[in-house]
């Protein structure tokens, strides 16, 4: 089992969309993928054809002591999805304090699922520092920061590096921090300049660059990933390329059992 934590320092960068599409892309590239929603917005499963009225999820299951397996759904593309679940404020706080007090919680629960050695877990987190992000980063083998090619995102870089340093770097099974540039539109000069600067700064650590594409938005309206909605569009190719470079990065190490 290899854990990929998707996070961002600021909201509105399309992090959940990236998590969903990247999970589908990894699955299409032949990996077994579990997409795990650690964001109280509980929006991830909507990208996988989930029912908006559905309330089951890992938060409820954890608090109730139920098996996670019953909380999940299977997307038409074959991705196993664990929604966050719909909870009231009190339960959410209880769940968050549970996460706070049990640092090993995520790994234990995932271990209970008996996933295979090469199976991938993609974890979505809410934007900015939170106990969810902390939980995800503490367990992650690979951290993926989602950014827009704009000045605001660029300004958050030090903060993200910092978070990763705090939670991930000391561990031997942590591969590193990768970046995904989302909604890239190179016909705009600023976007291009920021991409250029980031490429100069990070080079190979940019594992994906996803074009701005109307089909990505439309896909969500149809409760689908863009890969299913418009297999020929550029964003689909970008997600597949991103999945390949992540898979490539992950082959370079064996997770500790």
């Amino acid at each position: 089992m290899k854990i990929i934590a998707v996070f961002s320092a600021k909201g509105g960068v399309g992090k959940t969309t990236v998590t969903a599409n990247l999970s589908t892309a990894l699955s299409q590239e032949g990996h077994k993928v579990l997409a795990l929603d650690l964001d109280p917005q509980n929006a991830l499963h909507l990208h996988f054809g989930g029912d908006p009225q559905r309330i089951e999820g890992i938060s409820r299951a954890t608090l109730a002591g139920d098996d996670w397996r019953n909380a999940g759904i299977l997307s038409p593309a074959g991705v196993a999805v664990m929604p966050y679940g719909a909870v009231n404020e009190q339960d959410r706080r209880a769940f968050e304090s549970l996460l706070e007090n049990q640092p090993g919680w995520l790994l234990e629960r995932l271990a209970a699922l008996n996933l295979g050695e090469d199976d991938l877990v993609v974890v979505d987190t809410p934007p900015g520092p939170s106990v969810y992000m902390q939980t995800a980063l503490t367990a992650a083998n690979l951290a993926i920061a989602v950014m827009l090619p704009d000045a605001a995102s660029y300004a958050t870089l030090p903060m993200m590096e910092n978070l990763v340093q705090t939670y991930c770097t000391p561990r031997p099974d942590f591969l590193g921090l990768g970046f995904v540039l989302n909604q890239v539109d190179n016909s705009r000069l600023l976007a291009r300049d920021v991409s250029q600067v980031m490429r100069t700064d990070f080079g190979e650590r940019i594992v994906g660059s996803i074009h701005h594409d109307q089909s990505v938005c439309e896909a969500l309206a149809f409760n689908q990933s863009v890969l299913e909605y418009d297999p020929r569009c550029q964003a689909t190719q970008d997600y597949l390329a991103c999945a390949r470079s992540i898979a490539e990065a992950l082959t370079t190490f064996r997770p500790s059992p």
Binding site: N186, S187, R192, S195, R199, I206, S209, H211, H212, D213, Q214, S215, E218, D230, R232, C233, Q234, A235, T236, Q237
Partner: protein, 734 residues
């Protein structure tokens, strides 16, 4: 040089390698006396092999054994086998020539002597060119680019010159955009358009793009004078020169500069001239990118061979020159019309080095029509003849023997006009005039001449196979022989006269036509050879006791000449060419973005200066009337360009670029024409030579020549329907 035909037989190659390694490492070679001794011994044995008289049967056995040895060697890879084959070939050829000069020249009457000595003179010329060619290309240097220092702030300054005279702005534009996008520190290179046409629209364009624009108040010494004038107004340490229709790649400066930094005596580095549009041979014979074209032998092999001897010469474009030595020889030479080669010669004489890098770093438009192509070759031939007279490389100071011989061959090469015409008519002397040009029996001739010819073809096919297919040399020479004969002789006699032709490029051939004016000499040669064949066959059947073997030899020769002249005729049949900006095939990823914001990932088929072709799934709907954007990539780099759909045929979508600003133009150039790997990836990758296949293709082209000729004749005799229709409408208007 990967110079053996595949599949290589490893064992033999390995044995040869081991052998040569062991022998060359013998300690005895360190001793000068031993070296001298082995040279003398070798020379004596060689002289013996060349001169020893043999009976017919003995000569046959000797020739068969030598040729069998050559064929066995030809199965091995590596340079030792090539060198050994050259030795065998030289032996066979010199043995033939020795026999020819000592045993076949006892002519009995004046006509025999006239044709006989004429033929032997042509043969001596051909032999000399063969030997010089072996010398020149036996060991191509295969120079690789030298790396640049890591810190770009230490890189030197360069001026890029783009001389132009009468070429249209559309042609020059692309070259300028590509030159501007060169991967080099922006404060360390400047681009200058040197406009001898003094055209206001060029000036306006240069100002818009922000490149230098240089003119002068006269056109003295044409291109050479133009460059020399610009040298007085600029100050970069280096000068890179591109003809205005040679589009450089963005990597040119980085690829070329390394050697200048490594070798302070290096004055000039030349790269190949690569053409992305077909020349008239390729266009009219439909051999583009299948058969290596006329220039590929020179840039693929000859210049690389010259490089070993430090005798690479400047070819006027796609080259970098160090300013100081160039100024030291007085700038670009103006005494001859091939100022480029002459300039290199002068710098070599001053002790400077010249170098060649066989990596195409620019691409250009080939001359459109046969007459234009011939005009250009005439200029080269005339210029070389001039150099031969005014600054003969065999004489004068400062050159090594190797340099002298390489330059000599470059010059000698252009005197092929007369010898080629002699070979194309030689059998007629016997068939039509009954002249005995060989005072020997047919069997003896075969026993000596065939080894000479067979060794030369097998060896040359091995050495040149990637860059010149067998028999094509004869095709190219047959087409050009008549035309370069007079200019070379004239320039040789009076080297000071001669004017510079500028070849027209970027035009269109509205309609296919048969160029009767150009074809006239080939038609005469063809008719004469056909007549010779008819007479010869007539003699064979109707003459009392004919000399069958001599007749057969001459008939075979005439048959070969008929094939070659037929192929030359085919070249004169100009095919229709409608595209003003030729397309370059290239598969690379692309993205199409529609007005709706949706996208389509696809790949390119080809590009041109004005548009791009994409392969799109046949079932995808494309809104043909909406504006779109196309993205092109180079690694992580992406350029986005506005386009409009031009046509759709199944999975082929044609797009036209909308007006771009200067920055977009430069970027588009960097992602298309100026891509570093564009031309290098196809360089020398044509189908390898094989003697039978090459002969079959020449034969096919020759047959096409006959049909073209027949059709042209029919059209000439019966006025075409269209012409009639036109004249009739004119009548009704009256």
């Amino acid at each position: 040089m990967t110079d053996a035909p595949q599949p290589p037989r490893k064992t033999l190659s390995e044995t040869l390698d081991r052998w040569s390694d062991r022998v060359t490492q013998w300690r005895v070679w360190r001793h000068p006396v031993a070296r001298l001794a082995i040279v003398i011994l070798g020379a004596l044995l060689f002289a013996l092999a060349v001169t020893v008289p043999l009976e017919l049967e003995q000569q046959l056995v000797f020739a068969a054994v030598c040729f069998a040895l050559a064929l066995i060697l030809n199965t091995a890879t590596g340079r030792l086998a090539t060198l050994a084959m050259i030795v065998l070939s030289v032996t066979a050829s010199l043995r033939y020539m020795y026999w020819r000069l000592t045993s076949t020249l006892g002519f009995e009457d004046l006509i025999d002597a006239f044709f006989g000595f004429g033929l032997v003179a042509a043969e001596i010329y051909a032999l000399l060119v063969l030997l010089l060619g072996y010398f020149q290309t036996a060991w191509p240097l295969g120079r690789k680019p030298a790396p640049m220092p890591d810190d770009p702030s230490t890189w030197p300054t360069v001026d890029i010159f783009i001389p132009t005279y009468n070429e249209p702005l559309d042609v020059v534009r692309q070259t300028v955009y590509s030159a501007v996008g060169m991967d080099w520190p922006v404060d360390k290179f400047k681009v200058f358009v040197l406009d001898d046409g003094r055209r206001p629209e060029f000036k306006a364009f240069c100002e818009e793009v922000g490149v230098g624009y240089i003119t002068r108040d006269n056109n003295a010494h044409a291109k050479a004078g133009n460059i020399n004038h610009a040298l007085t107004l600029t100050d970069g340490e280096y000068v890179a020169i591109f003809d205005c229709d040679h589009i450089p790649t963005r990597s040119f400066l980085q690829i070329c500069m390394g050697w200048f930094l490594r070798d302070p005596k290096l004055a000039m580095l030349q790269t190949p001239h690569y053409f992305f549009s077909p020349d008239p041979f390729e266009k009219n014979l439909n051999t583009f990118q299948v058969v290596p074209n006329e220039g590929e032998l020179f840039y693929g092999l000859v210049q690389d061979g010259n490089d070993l001897w430090n005798a690479t010469f400047f070819c006027g474009s796609c080259a970098m020159i160090r300013r100081a030595p160039l100024l030291e020889v007085g700038g670009v030479a103006v005494e001859t019309v091939t100022e480029d080669a002459h300039t290199a010669l002068k710098m070599n004489r001053k002790g400077y080095n010249t170098a060649y890098l066989a990596i195409p770093q620019a691409a250009g438009l080939a001359t459109e029509s046969l007459s234009g192509h011939v005009g250009q070759r005439i200029r080269w031939a005339r210029g070389m003849a001039q150099i031969c007279r005014v600054d003969n490389p065999l004489l004068g100071p400062g050159l090594t023997l190797g340099q002298r011989l390489c330059y000599l061959n470059a010059m000698m090469h252009f005197f092929y006009g007369l010898p080629r015409l002699v070979f194309l008519t030689a059998p007629l002397a016997y068939l039509l005039l009954n002249a005995h040009v060989f005072q020997a029996t047919a069997f003896l001739i075969a026993a000596y001449a065939l080894p000479h010819l067979c060794h030369a073809s097998v060896t040359n096919s091995r050495m040149q196979g990637r860059f010149r297919h067998s028999f094509w040399n004869e095709v190219y020479e047959s087409v050009l022989a008549w035309y370069i004969l007079r200019p070379t002789l004239y320039a040789f006699i009076n080297p000071r006269a001669g004017k510079f032709n500028v070849t027209a490029k970027g035009g269109i051939t509205e309609e296919g036509f048969f160029d009767w004016d150009m074809a006239r000499p080939y038609i005469v040669l063809l008719a004469l050879n056909l007549l010779g064949a008819v007479v010869g066959i007539g003699k064979l059947f109707f003459m009392e006791s004919p000399d069958v073997s001599t007749l057969l030899i001459n008939l075979a020769w005439t048959g070969y000449n008929i094939i070659m002249t037929g192929a030359a005729v085919a070249v004169a049949n100009e095919t229709r060419q409608v595209r003003r900006s030729p397309r370059v095939g290239m598969r690379m990823p692309a993205t199409l973005r529609f007005a709706s914001g949706k996208t389509l990932a696809c790949e390119t088929i080809d590009f041109s200066q004005t548009g791009i072709g994409l392969r799109v799934p046949a079932d995808v709907e494309i809104p043909m009337d909406e504006p779109m954007h196309v993205s092109l990539y180079r690694g992580q780099e992406e350029g986005v360009f506005p386009v409009a759909a031009a046509f759709r045929r199944g999975d082929h979508l044609g797009l036209q670029f909308q007006p771009l600003n200067v920055q977009q133009e430069v970027e588009l150039a960097q992602l298309t024409f100026a891509r570093a790997d564009n031309w290098a990836s196809v360089w020398g990758q044509r189908q390898r030579d094989s003697l039978p296949r090459a002969f079959a293709s020449v034969l096919r082209i020759s047959l096409k020549g006959f049909t073209d000729l027949a059709r042209g004749l029919v059209r000439l005799v019966t006025p075409s329907r269209r012409a009639r229709a036109v004249s009739s409408t004119l009548h009704t208007r009256d």
